[in-house]
Subunit: 353 residues, 2 copies
DNA sequence: GCAGATTCTGTGAACGCTCACAGACAACTC
DNA sequence: GAGTTGTCTGTGAGCGTTCACAGAATCTGC
């Protein structure tokens, strides 16, 4: 049989042709050939276009257009060791966090900001230990250039891992744990809480309660702001702690507050969702808002506009938080200096207080 | 100087060593060396582990563990032409859609389902033409193995592009446009709408209005279900169209309905968010719910539990929609046959109707 | 004991790109 | 006109995998 004879002489050309037929798209060599230049020149055009003659530039651009060439990211990554992707890691996402409107804004704005730099966002969940392992392996494996970390609770174990500097990382909100932790971007929670508390005081409220959530990122700061303004008037029974920012927790906390201090005339909830829950509970208890009890929220999320009455709240510039997180991360990736940032908050007056 | 002498003889070995020092992690060759086998054997262990002796298997596994080896996805993708990633494309995401709780559930469940197959989810937004181009180039470039398409409005132009079969794709909800379009997974919207309408009829309601949204995916089906049950009783002035599923649109539609038909005694809103808006407007108009007017929603999203009164609504099995979308997409990627799926809905009775 | 499977292993050649290098040429300076 | 600088170009090597192939070893059944 002629098989052996054929096998004896390898024919790389016909093989290459066969491959080309089943290939996804044109390669850099096809573009080079069509443009009448070399691979190297095409590559230079693709990245930066320096040291390329106008004629060559034009020819390459035309060839790229006519062939519909797209750079093969895998091949590029293989040599540059950059993935042009970052992970958006959602730590401990009980459904709650995921349905938090703040988080949605963050995700959307981060995606947009990254897209402008042609970097793609890979969403990763990290609620179980197994998932954390997966994330860590993924990140360590060099699949992403950086990590945007959205943490629900402070003291996230992933922070420690990330802090070891496997890959640049930025957190949203001040992550708890050792001081050596990773840089973060957050709103000025403490000052925001002060603004709201001062506002309630200015309205003549005497018994101002707080629904706090100190385990959640940003929570301790908001409680501190409330205490800063009220001092000794921040009675113990006026402060109730919840374990998360949820509607149900807000309602339960309000119930407790009403039972402990029936003469309460204002409540500052550490998030709009908590405030919405408090509102529902107040209605059930027959208290009018704001006449009997004023309610203040925090976040200025969509919810604040949809409650009845609409919530007076503290606006966090989440769009800017997202943009700044991306900015800090990109700087870190380029090995430029970058540090944590705190963004100003603003009181938004509506009808609840 | 000795420079020229050095340059004359290339020393690949010291070069390789230098590279190794700055390298991210161990390679397959390092693992092979440590395990005392060849590259090929390690590769076989990594993918499937067939035709590998127990001894070799064990040695490789140990070596992988001690070196902390992770496969370099770029190198692998370069040869397999598979990226192990899929794009989750959010078409026309006016903020609204993004803040839709349904969408959050979908995103979360898809991410989880994909993670189980070690496939990562790349989030892409596609609200402008420029962004659609980007998405298309990205997808065409072979960066992803498939696309999960979440479309707000029917007749999305991306669908047509995707339908040309660049890459496997699955839509959530029936995409409008040519019949030749891509496969989809959706709830049985028509039947769900029938369930709700029948429920309102069974409660003795005589003037049943509808807040419909026929431009949005699923919208036409829900309107059809309402008409199926009511027949000629579905008066023109009892149906108002909105352009999206938003709180504000729901409130505006309710206002219109009250003005046109003051004797209205029930409303079926095509989404919970619309129903929440209607609820707010009814309260403002002094109508009691459900005593004066019954309100039915659709989705059974988180919102339905948080309105006052809580909404009677139609539950869509979104977790299953997400799981099925991923399942269909994976089949398509493996070139197995797979077709569109319709999932059953369920009436959830609460207090609003 | 030997042909034929069957299991197991190592090796070379891609995959498509970037990057360093060297060479060609043009434009200056003295 | 020779040297120096700067711009522009092509080429070879290598990134870390997988895959096809071929060869070695072991097991069948007669």
């Amino acid at each position: 049989m002629s098989q052996n004879a054929d096998a004896a002489q390898p024919h790389p050309k016909s093989r290459g042709a066969a491959r080309r037929a089943m290939r996804r798209g044109p390669t850099i060599d096809d573009v080079a050939e069509l443009a009448g230049v070399s691979r190297g020149t095409v590559s230079r055009v693709l990245n930066g276009a320096r040291y390329v003659s106008p004629a060559a530039l034009k020819a390459v651009e035309r060839a790229v257009r006519t062939t519909g060439y797209t750079v093969n990211q895998s091949a590029r990554s293989l040599v540059t060791k950059q993935s042009n992707a970052v992970a958006f890691v959602l730590s401990e996402p009980q459904e709650r966090l995921f349905e938090d409107p703040n988080f949605s804004v963050l995700l959307r704005c981060c995606t947009q900001a990254l897209a402008e730099h042609d970097i793609s966002l890979i969403l990763m969940l990290e609620s179980s230990d197994a998932e954390r392992d997966r994330v860590l392996r993924y990140v360590r494996g060099g699949h992403v250039d950086g990590v945007l970390l959205i943490s629900a609770h402070s003291g996230d174990p992933l922070v420690a891992d990330l802090a070891r500097g496997v890959v640049p990382a930025v957190a949203c909100g001040r992550p708890g744990g050792p001081e050596s932790a990773i840089p973060y971007v957050a709103a000025e929670d403490t000052e925001g809480a002060r603004q709201m508390t001062r506002h309630l005081v200015a309205q003549g409220r005497r018994r101002i309660g707080m629904i706090a959530c100190p385990q959640v990122v940003g929570g301790p700061e908001r409680l501190r702001g409330y205490r800063d303004v009220l001092g000794r008037r921040a009675l113990k029974r006026l402060v109730v702690h919840t374990s998360d920012y949820s509607f149900a927790a807000g309602a339960a906390a309000m119930r407790e507050l009403l039972a402990e201090s029936p003469d309460i005339d204002a409540v500052f909830a550490a998030s709009d969702l908590l405030a919405a829950g408090a509102l529902a509970e107040l209605r059930r208890a027959g208290r009018r808002v704001p006449d009997d009890v004023a309610v203040g929220g925090f976040d200025d999320s969509r919810i604040a506009r949809e409650t009845d009455p609409p919530l007076t709240t503290i606006r966090q510039p989440l769009e800017r938080v997202a943009a700044d997180m991306v900015d800090v991360l990109l700087r870190l990736i380029r090995r430029e200096p970058a540090s944590s940032r705190l963004l100003p908050t603003e009181l938004v007056r509506r009808e609840s207080a």
